[in-house]
């Protein structure tokens, strides 16, 4: 329901003033998502896997995570897609921990780290904020997710 709170807050005139936003008086209300854009989206790559291949070769740090209770872009979708990169496994599948509980599972490939987040839906940091922060810390540090 938090989306509806945002719809109210960001349409307040005093909030927009504080943000220096909407100075040109946009002729429609602020919305969390634009129906017009989604209906008229012009070009969309059918796959971004070729970009992954190029950027892995370039040596960028790439992490992919998946909240395991999302059914819109679910964990099996991501795993199935990533499997077609055919990356060699660097660190084999293991459960990672946060607060003495299994926070998900992870596998490190050569050039890409994949991690699931247990109990999280589509918006992982909303549903599992502590686990998401642990994930982010590990990503920034370039370190493995905690094994205990």
């Amino acid at each position: 329901c938090t989306e509806s709170y945002a719809e109210k807050y960001y349409n307040r005139a005093d909030v927009q003033r504080a943000f220096h936003a909407n100075l040109t008086r946009i002729p429609y209300k602020w919305t969390a998502c634009s129906d017009v854009l989604i209906k008229n989206w012009r070009d969309s790559d059918s796959s971004v896997l070729p970009i992954y291949k190029e950027l892995i070769t370039a040596g960028l740090r790439i992490w992919v995570f998946s909240g395991d209770t999302d059914s819109v872009v679910p964990v099996t979708a991501t795993r199935f897609s990533l499997s077609h990169l055919n990356l060699p496994v660097k660190t084999r599948w293991y459960p990672w921990y946060s607060g003495k509980q299994v926070a998900g599972w992870t596998e490190e490939y050569k050039g890409l780290t994949f991690a699931t987040v247990r109990g999280a839906g589509h918006e992982v940091p909303l549903f599992q904020p502590k686990r998401a922060l642990v994930l982010f810390r590990s990503f920034l540090a370039g370190k493995k997710l905690p094994k205990s």
Partner: protein, 265 residues
Amino acid sequence: RPSVPKQQELDRIKELPGQPKVKFSQFSGYVTVNERHGRALFYWLTESSSSPHTKPLLLWLNGGPGCSSIAYGASEEIGPFRINKTASSLYLNTFSWNREANLLFLESPSGVGFSYTNTSSDLKDTGDERTAQENLIFLIKWMSRFPQYKYRDFYIAGESYAGHYVPQLAKKIHDYNKAFTKPIINLKGFMVGNAVTDNHYDSIGTVTYWWTHAMISDRTYKSILSHCNFTAEKASDQCDESVNYAMNHEFGNIDQYSIYTPTCL
């Protein structure tokens, strides 16, 4: 204190209505990404709560396409503030990612949230390519306004359809940087969650999830797999029928974005 560009100071947020006292700085404003059409992107920077000068910069994008980074990324997910039920005040998020990094939320493309265009037809022909290109233009111009972030370790993150935006922008930056020995956008990596990656494989994996999580029957599972060609531009009528049956008769009244969470009434 080092001198900062004037525009940066004009963008400083003194305080948001209903905001608790905080020790970090915030800035927000517009960056024009296309003069001719009058397209401008809105950003909100929430600096790190401790030693922002030493922390990396993270750009967060939401998906949709057409969804707001400040609605989802900032206010629901990784940002320092949450909005209360009556939208009268804000409260702090204990697990905000600005403990670890300076967070840059970007409303992208124009037409999302506070970002706008002066050419209304732009709203009907936006797509991946323009989004990536204008996000790159935004970054280059934004760094002129915030030079303290030039050469700083830089990461991009996002979720859902940002599974397109994030790697596409990373590639644009990577290509742009090839012309410089020491590029100002010091891209180190990216991270995406529940991200749209490949139409064909994502679709098969999604139907498999529905079946393995007992959201659909064996019969519907088999029907979808036999009638849907996920590489086709347009789904067949039989495919649509099978998927619609699953959604209308088998899923139940659930939140598809979090299947064990009560739906919002």
